[in-house]
């Protein structure tokens, strides 16, 4: 087996492992930490189902961001929606046979990629040009945008500049899935793209990309406004109650 294939196989396994275990660990941390008080930002839905709907609107429509700033919303929506389309499009490398719906997504994937890059460029421009946003931006904030831009651009470049043998690439990917390693085509842009994706996966659980799982656990959004109707008591608060007005 060529060294290149071994290297990338190990890199991608490690990246996927870090992503899954690291993010899982963070999610476990969020889930196990109690929310001792009812703090939904009101007006809030009065039922739990309603609160789930509110979270869904935040995830799908970026409802609160829309209230805040239309330009940021447009850029963010373009980026995230574009990314979603690209991810769906990439499923063709992971699935055998390819499902009908994945095939249907294919033509839109390119537009997704464009939207993604345009959105990222807009977000970077805003970060650089709006003094308030520039003030709160640190090196990691720029690097994250550059990493995402580089990932997208490298993907696009493969499409435009370097006709990769995608059949053998798919064989490589399926080989990883089935623990039966197959040679990786050695195109430089493809290797760059894969490296960047691996970096993104590795960085995810240690960075602000945690906003993705975070939104589901944000008490101001996911709690129902039912404080008067239901008594809400965290385990540590219950212990405090049993022990009298002791120290918290």
């Amino acid at each position: 087996m060529p060294l290149l294939t071994v290297t990338y196989a190990l890199l991608l396994y490690a990246a996927a492992g870090i992503f899954v275990v690291g993010t899982g660990w963070r999610i476990y941390g969020y889930a196990r930490t109690p929310a001792p008080l009812k703090i939904p930002t009101t007006p809030a839905p009065v039922t739990r189902l309603g609160a789930a709907g509110r979270v869904a609107r935040e995830v799908v429509l970026f409802e609160s961001l829309f209230k805040s700033d239309k330009w940021t919303w447009i850029f963010a929506a373009a980026f995230h929606l574009g990314l979603l389309l690209e991810l769906l499009r990439h499923l063709r490398y992971f699935l055998q046979p390819i499902g009908t719906w994945v095939t249907l997504v294919q033509p839109f994937g390119v537009y997704g990629g464009m939207a993604m890059l345009a959105g990222l460029a807009g977000l970077l421009g805003r970060r650089l040009l709006v003094a308030r946003v520039r003030y709160v931006s640190g090196p990691s904030d720029y690097l994250m945008l550059l990493l995402l831009l580089a990932t997208g651009l490298s993907g696009f470049s493969i499409e435009l500049l370097e006709r990769t043998d995608i059949v053998s690439f798919k064989v490589f990917v399926l080989g990883l899935e089935y623990l039966d390693w197959q040679p990786l085509p050695g195109n430089p842009l493809l290797l760059a793209h894969l490296t960047l994706v691996a970096v993104l996966l590795i960085v995810f659980p240690f960075s602000k990309l945690l906003h993705a799982p975070g939104i589901f656990f944000s008490p101001t959004r996911n709690q129902a406004d039912d404080a008067r109707e239901r008594r809400h008591l965290a385990p540590w608060a219950a212990r405090l109650e049993r022990g009298g007005a002791g120290e918290v």
Partner: protein, 498 residues
């Protein structure tokens, strides 16, 4: 115009987002708690030795207790959605008053000590060690947050700077750097039962005086009962309602409503305070202790219902937290929500036609309404989401002929804080308070210009105190602030109930 040693922002035709003025409010800080204030709450009397370690340990403790803190410290992507939403930023231009920058004061320490990236690459991710300079910034800027939650409305992840500033203040107390204003007041509530330190006999005296005043003005015997066992309703007002204008006119309004409704009610000398400043310092145990006092009063007086007066953060604690802190309230009448807001109580009466209101009594006023931040963004009134906006307006409109809302992006869930909430209503912070009031005053200015509005009604003791103090700096008379139940009280036709 009051005398100042700072520049009062100019009112213009519309509110502008200011240019960044780094360090503009770097010197703003409230007085620190004296050893006796700290001691009364069981906090260290002065900065503890090894405070850096103690502070980080406390942060770790809070991260394990508050999901909001953990999730909100991790989730921020620095998108900038909140950067132009804080009234203190809009009024001062100090970039550290942008919510995300304020959070970052704590987040940087969180990253340094609790994240791998911050341990390995502190510069890259903005992680910082807690040192004396940063501690000063914590004290200064976490006391430039009124915990009004406006930023959390606009944050795509619901990050609530109030949660962050509460945690920061709790850490500060833990290392012996408390704030005098809040901690002194909380100790008074524990010792005497209200923020003012007004003892039972003085309270009884005040209430007798009010009975005489109302009798003189209306010829009707409207009672202000104190410690009446077996009353139907225990009323818990903010203690400002006992002495200050326009608060006291609100209290008279409540009394007239109870009188007309024929409901037997009482105040309690043991729990004569709705305010719960322990929320401002983020301290669960202190907040619980204050809340339990009210539960005890309700049990001792054998009442069936608890009604809370016009006070914003108090309504947040009562509505959102009492059931958790001091519940279950299974000894009260289950037919009514626990607790009820006085606005809900009066609204029900109006809807049932049980109150006769002469709107003409308020014809000398053109009224607008200031949604208090805590009521707007942390509570509800009535059964429907948003009832906290509908019910107070319904009361005002039932009592006044001339009502005008301020601009839509300054009311409802987007309301601007008065500038004095969150434990900042203290004289040494007057510059912050005046500048922080700018967005609200600007909106008030616009309806004054456009509709000739003369009065602004509020449902919060802090808002009323803050506005009566800061409006004159902008050339608006202090008596243009009124209580919602003052308007109701003016309009009530006494003695005509069927």
């Amino acid at each position: 115009m009051a005398k100042t040693d700072f520049e009062v922002p100019a009112l213009r035709d519309y509110l502008r987002t200011p240019d960044l003025r780094p360090g503009a409010m770097a010197k703003s800080a409230p007085f620190k708690a004296a050893p006796r204030h700290q001691q009364a709450l069981g906090f260290p009397e002065a900065l503890v030795p090894d405070w850096e370690r103690v502070a980080v340990a406390k942060l770790g403790d809070l991260l394990g207790k508050y999901r909001s803190l953990r999730v909100h410290l991790d989730s921020c992507v620095k998108c900038g959605a909140c950067t132009d939403k804080c009234h203190y930023f809009l009024g001062t231009g100090d970039p550290k008053n942008m919510p995300v920058a304020r959070q970052d004061l704590l987040r940087s320490v969180y990253r340094r000590h609790f994240t791998l990236a911050g341990k390995l690459f502190p510069r890259l991710v903005g992680a910082r060690d807690l040192d004396a300079a940063l501690l000063d910034e914590w004290y200064g800027y976490f006391h430039q947050c009124s915990q009004c939650r406006r930023c959390s409305v606009f944050c795509p992840y619901g990050i609530d700077t109030a949660e962050i500033s509460m945690a920061a203040r709790e850490i500060l107390d833990e290392i012996g750097v408390g704030q005098k204003y809040c901690n002194e007041i909380i100790a008074k509530v524990h010792a005497i039962g209200n923020n003012l330190g007004l003892p039972g006999p003085a309270l009884a005296n005040t209430l007798e005086g009010l009975e005489e005043d109302v009798k003189e003005a209306t010829g009707v015997d409207v009672r202000f009962p104190l410690d009446v066992e077996g009353a139907e309703v225990l009323l818990i007002p903010p203690s400002a309602d006992f002495f200050a204008e326009p608060h006291i006119d609100g209290l008279i309004g409540y009394a007239k409503v109870f009188h007309q409704a024929g409901v037997r009610w009482t105040l309690s000398s043991y729990a004569s305070e709705a305010a719960n400043f322990a929320m401002f310092i983020g301290n669960y145990a202190q907040m619980r202790k204050v809340a339990l006092r009210i539960r005890q009063a309700a049990i001792d007086l054998k009442v069936k219902r608890i009604v809370v007066g016009e006070c914003g953060h108090a309504w947040r604690v009562a509505y959102g937290f009492w059931n958790t802190l001091a519940g279950p309230f299974d000894f009260l009448d289950p037919r009514y929500p626990v607790p009820q807001h006085i606005v809900e109580f009066t609204y029900d009466l109006i809807r049932r036609g049980a109150l006769k209101l002469d709107k003409e009594a308020n014809d000398h006023m053109k009224v607008t309404f200031h949604d208090s931040c805590n009521v707007a963004r942390a509570t509800r009134m009535g059964d429907l989401p948003g009832g906290q906006f509908v019910l107070p307006r319904a009361l005002i409109k039932a009592s006044c002929n001339h009502y005008f809302d301020m601009a839509p992006d300054t009311i409802g869930e987007k309301t601007f804080c008065c500038g004095g909430g969150g434990g900042l209503l203290t004289d040494e912070l007057i510059e912050l308070r005046v500048k922080g009031a700018l967005p609200r005053v600007q909106a008030l200015h616009e309806v004054r210009q456009e509709h000739g509005v003369t009065h602004m009604a509020a449902i919060c003791a802090i808002c009323k105190s803050q506005f009566t103090k800061v409006l004159p700096y902008y050339g608006i008379p202090m008596d243009s602030v009124v209580s919602v139940h003052q308007l109701v009280g003016n309009a009530i036709r006494l003695g005509t109930s069927s």
